[in-house]
Amino acid sequence: MVLSQKLHEAFKGTVERMTNPRTVSAFKEKGVLSISEFILAGDNLVSKCPTWSWESGEPSKRKSYLPSEKQFLITRNVPCLRRAASVEEEYEAAGGEVLLDNDDNDGWLATHGKPKGNKCDEEENLPSMETLEISKNNTIQSISSYFGGEEEEDIPDMAEYEEPDNLIETDPATLQSTYLVAHEPDDDNILRTRTYDVSITYDKYYQTPRVWLTGYDESRMLLQRELVLEDVSQDHARKTVTIEDHPHLPGKHASVHPCRHGAVMKKIIDVLMSRGVEPEVDKYLFLFLKFVASVIPTIEYDYTMDFDLGSSSI
């Protein structure tokens, strides 16, 4: 963590301690949520998309301004069958349209590709957190590098301890397969089948929801955090997506930084209203997750529901 980020965290923490949570709605004016609106929108998400649940998380990390049983939202074991980079390559190869509304380059409706011509402009508008020094190498890395790399040289080779055949059982009723993986777009690379736990917390400072990702490889071993960035749109991978302490769970997790969420949501709400759709605050998370899908295009979490957004283009 670089100094500037630490300073910002300290500042943010102080402000959070000293300010009261938002109680007056500024949903339409600023694209932000009050605590009670977050609960309302979360309840609606859980009821329409029951793969999402409320959880209480670590007791020691509990936030007093949220109900103890509704601290954050989570959906587990969400498939991610291919890497975001490969989707983008295909998309670019197909010469796809990119930004629906390119005037000020917010990119909130960006589909999965990256614009070819105005790359520089876009980069300036994406907030940079300057925290991740990830190599540009986007190739799929061997998972064993996480467990067998230089730093972990002390871990013994498990093969030394392989059990004699009589322990595991030659049982004709056990389906024998190396591991049970999903069908792949191409069958060549088994490492592509990952799953994610996706959680949504309330960020008191920015007054918006915040998305967190915990990745697992095809045998459900924890994915090295840096590899998570392969599943993030490459425009965001080193900028808006950072790796920080989760507010309700142990350890560090990848997160879409919320500093622009309010502005992006405000823009979405403005577009809806200009089309004559009156946005309702309990639908906030559906709109929000739709927007987040542009950041993590290949993680197939559920945010679908039947409601009229006024246009099929969103």
Binding site: M1, K6, C49, P50, T51, S53, S56, E58, P59, S60, S68, T75, R76, N77, V78, P79, Y146, F147, E151, E152, D154, I155, P156, M158, A159, Y161, E162, E163, L167, I168, E169, D171, P172, A173, T174, L175, S177, T178, Y179, L180, A182, H183, D187, T193, T195, D197, T214, Y216, S219, R220, M221, L222, R225, L249, P250, G251, K252, E300, D302, T304
Partner: protein, 345 residues
């Protein structure tokens, strides 16, 4: 892939052995954090087994199986947090609680020296006892009991572990007559009624985490879901009758692991030879009858098998990438105070 999913032909020319997709484990980082803390602050060098809770849910995606998941809350609360734990932090529809037991050793040598066969047998015996005492019909989650052995290396922040999902082995194995998507086996009216009944079962807090159940379909296509203990009272002539379970598996040609002990219960308690089973799976959190499977299996166990005194064989140690080896995960990056200090500087 397709080769793996084909049931194999063994022995009898016409009999296809019913093959079950093994349960898979998934351990959340929070579990290891809390285990480390408990080991340091509470357990010390005490190696007594610890009751833990695992969580699973029906498969909810056509391409990915669900797992038996361990979270921080799978372990007892830390002493300092006891007062903060609320009852509501237990199961919900996406986290059906399954009882398990953890043997955490003090040394790596101790971990490898554990008598794995005896430990598996001991857990399987609990399942066998619960079947014969009737407890499994009252609280069906005990049918999916699991076992975890581990060694937490708190000097290197690495964790060695191995799961077992004990399954009682039918001898000879059950044979499969057919297995097909529930939506094909049922009439349209039956499928609609069963969908509605399943969604109601899953949305009620009283039943949402009950992973085994009975399905009865009346001649007028009306489906009802009952608890296992109601077996006697829902035997009606002319009704279709299915044994249902939350299936964590996504494969189209195999039921998941929990069906094994349900079949053991069925043939021990109710001595049925022909069983219709219902592998309940979901699509985006709602009953998905084209992903769910209905099958017919034949059970013809030897007479001695049903004898309470003669516990059948048990299998179930988890494979790690196809091998009979434990797993190991290093969490030094998120737990080692030295590394955390460096990365924060």
């Amino acid at each position: 892939m397709s080769k793996l999913q084909q049931p194999t032909m063994t022995g009898n020319e016409n009999a296809t052995v019913l093959q079950f997709a093994p349960f898979q484990s998934a351990v959340d980082e929070g579990f290891w954090h809390r285990l480390s803390s408990l080991k340091l602050n509470k357990f010390g060098i005490d190696e007594s087994p610890i009751p833990i809770t695992g969580f699973y849910a029906p498969c909810s995606h056509s391409q990915v199986s669900n797992h038996l998941t361990l979270l921080a809350e799978s372990l007892p609360p830390e002493p300092s947090e006891q007062s903060l734990v609320t009852m509501s932090s237990r199961g919900n529809r996406n986290k059906c609680s399954i009882p398990g037991i953890l043997y955490n050793t003090n040394t790596l040598e101790g971990f490898h020296a554990l008598d794995k066969q005896s430990l598996l047998k001991a857990e399987a015996e609990k399942v066998w006892e619960d079947i014969h005492s009737g407890k499994a019909e009252e609280d069906s989650a005990v049918l999916s009991r699991f076992l975890l052995i581990s060694f937490a290396d708190l000097k290197k922040w690495s964790f060695h572990y191995w799961f077992a999902f004990p399954a009682l082995v039918l001898d000879p194995p059950a044979t499969l007559v057919y297995l097909r998507p529930a939506s094909q086996w049922l009439s349209l009216e039956e499928a609609e009624s069963l969908s509605a009944a399943c969604n109601e079962w899953r949305s009620s807090s009283a039943t949402t985490d009950v992973p085994f159940f009975l399905v009865s379909i009346a001649p007028n296509s009306h489906a009802t879901i009952k608890h296992l203990k109601d077996w006697e009272s829902c035997q009606h002539d002319g009704h279709k009758f299915l044994f249902g379970f939350y299936d964590p598996c996504h494969l189209p040609n195999n039921p998941g692991w929990p069906l094994r002990n349900l079949l053991a219960l069925i043939c021990s308690r109710w001595t049925l030879e022909k069983v219709y089973f219902f592998c309940y799976r979901e699509n985006r959190g709602f009953a998905g009858l084209s992903l769910s499977l209905i099958g017919e299996a034949l059970i013809s166990v030897s007479q001695g098998w049903k004898d309470h005194q003669h516990m059948p064989n048990a299998v179930g140690w988890e494979f790690n990438r196809g091998k009979k080896v434990p797993r190991c995960i290093s969490l030094a990056k998120s737990m080692d105070p030295t590394r955390l200090a460096i990365s924060a500087a």
